[in-house]
Amino acid sequence: MAQAELDTRTWVNRNPPQPGRKAPPSEVGVVGWLRANLFSSLGNTLLTLLTAVALYYLVSNLLRWGAQAAWEPVWANRKLMAVGGYPAERLMQPMVVLMLLSLLFGLSAGRWGELMRNLAIGLGVIFAVWMVIPAGSWVQTRMGICLALLVLGALVGSRVAIADRLLTLAWVIFIPIALIMLHGGVTLLGIEWYPWGAGVPSNLYGGLLLTSLLTVLGITLSFPIGVALALGRRSELPAIKYFCIAYIELIRGVPLISLLFMAMVVLPLFLPAGMTNPAGVTRAVVAITLFSAAYLAETVRGGLQAVPRGQYEAADAVGLGGWQKLRLIVLPQALRAVIPAIVGQFIGLFKDTSLVALVGLSDFLNVSRSILVQPAWSQIPGGITHEVYLSVAAVYLIFSFGMSWASRRLETRLGVGQR
């Protein structure tokens, strides 16, 4: 048998491996890449040429326009776009908030890495840019301080083992501190504390400051509500379950703008007779929070569903009570799984806050629109609508894209969607 013969004979390879031939130059390197990606077939070549011509016209026209466009109005209004009508002599207050934020970001980046590090890098780049471009020595030095704090925080965070709990606590108390700093004081339990003169009313907040404030408050306040709604929707108690379903579907079924208008127009009706009408910013925060909570609830529900059944059973088996099971086993896993989705929602909310422009708040979009009607620029031929709207879009783009880039890097690392 052939099998037996093969076993008895010594096998000699009469064709020893030749040294491999080099790949033809048309398949590797730049040429190979071009062939594979742009000119693989006749149709593909045609497509490439057509696209290239279209792209050339688009880009060259855009550049030509950009070179002669009137960017002066946008540049001259950079303070307005940053903080709106916030009094110029009190600008140190938001700056201190920014410095605290930098420090916290630095510490978290050093301690936690991942998403925080990516976000901190983005923030650092923005600080560095503003430190270099001649926007006035006041801003430049402050930006330098922010950058220094960010780096310092990162260094400290990566070397000193700060307890997770402590850092989380710092983030939680950062928000009320930031609000107090922005207002320039606080009235608590009858004690008035206004070290820098009268408080700055919230209707003076504006620009990017207001946009960020609405986003951060919206997502932070809606977080506990969203988690509660998500848990409630999975509850076995019908009264709670159907209430949560009704709330979530009702809010998700209507546009945010209708909730904002409702907060502006109808909310006063719901308040007791003697109560003063809350400020516009407060009302917008209420609407945004109620809106965001419904969407967050669905995101968190996804995370809850991703926790395997065995985890619940194991928690029951080791004798954890309902609350402990939730706090120690279920929520940590569920929330970790939806971090990218929550970042995505944060970005969405950041963009959606632009809707407050329609109810008359001076957010980033609205203050930028106010540049259009400043008399100083009325003589510019062709108007400045293109310049202003493109600048606004660019700023939103930088922030949103930066955040989604940071989150996407995290997703790749966590392998979300690849398992």
Binding site: T51, L237, K351, L365
Partner: protein
Amino acid sequence: MSHPSLTAQPKATIPFYRDTRMIALISQVIFVLLLVLVIAFFYNNVREGLRANGRTFSWNFLRQTAGFAIAEGPTFLPSDTYARAFFTGAVNTLRVAVVGIVLATILGLLIGIARLSTNWLLRTLAGVYIEIIRNTPALVQLFFWYFAVILTLPDIRDAATVGDLAIISNRGVELTWPLITEAGWGLSWWLWGALVAAILAGYGQQQWRLRQGKLGGGFGTGLLTFLLVALIGFGVTWVTAQLPEQITYELRRGDRGTLYVDVNGNGQFDNGIDRPMRHVPVTLLTEDGTELATTRTDNNGGFVFFELGEERGTSLTWREPAPVVISQPELQGFNIRGGLSISPEYAGILLGLVLYTAAFIAEIVRAGINAVNNGQWEASRALGLSTGETLRMIVLPQALRVAIPPLTSQYLNLTKNSSLALAVGYPDLFSISQTILNQSGAELQVFLMLMATYLSFSLITSAFTNWYNRRVALVER
């Protein structure tokens, strides 16, 4: 008698506050009580607030006269009621939503496929488009398209033209468009009939094929049936159509007026009662019967003769038009006549929403196609199916299963985002509601109606999604 261990054991005394059933019951009762308290608190505040302002909660305002005009959508006059204004707004929202969904789907499909192209340049370009669009607010984009692009288009005198197909200016877009004329009003019934026949034929064909064990659906048959019935309808309308007997006209200043059917016979045109004659060719005559000029009536039966010079006419004749005319827009003075007119507001909201939603749809398309396992392509090739057949019968059905739920959610988003029309002044449901609310002062009622309408849109859509999902879901044991 029985063994002591088989008699009833002494009941384990679980205190009621540790009995899970009791806890569940009590916590629900407490929850409901709290909810009722909160609602009662707000209800009371609203009642007190309304009483303090001397107002009552009633729906009577719906029957009041609106007193404002709506520029778009179904004919609406200031003398119509608030209820009708609300309805007009809803129709306008659907006009944006339906057209927007169709266009966004087509564009999104193209961009999604471009995103998967083997051509690096095209793929990257599609990616850049998607990132830019998805990372800027819809409202900013809308403002940009409306204020920075559409309103800065050339004036109507130097409007841009796209061949004979369209005139584009800062007053919007005028398209060359087939219009059903007065002689063809029966045709619209034929078209609806054709649609029903097409659906029935397509469905029948599909079922028949299914029973025969053959592949493929009934789309082709449906399309053919539609075209056939529509063609027969066109022929029948062409032959049998007649203009009504009692047509009269109003001629003002010798060069303009209205052609209409005098329904109430009082010899003058009453809007809403008399029926205007649409798209009928009319000729202006002098007293001695010479023809001065010819034009066509517009959508409201109106006509104006522009090229008259000094002469004026005294009487009018008209001819029976074809059931359908291809109406081409033309510049007459500072106006454009004929064609299908798209207002700058409608163009703005449509452009903004379509470009915005298309980016999201493109990502869904990409994810859907990527979700189909590569082995499916290979298996299908191994069976000898061509690329087209593989796409049609293997890949797309599976990709759709993944893509349909997020796709409907995008459609719903587009419908909800159409409320941004407020920003550009397009009279959609939301902006008309704002006007109603400001005029009538019935904030609560208007908001309830608004929420209910948007909610019903979304409930209908999600009901459809659920039905479709059940149909295409994998059947697992």
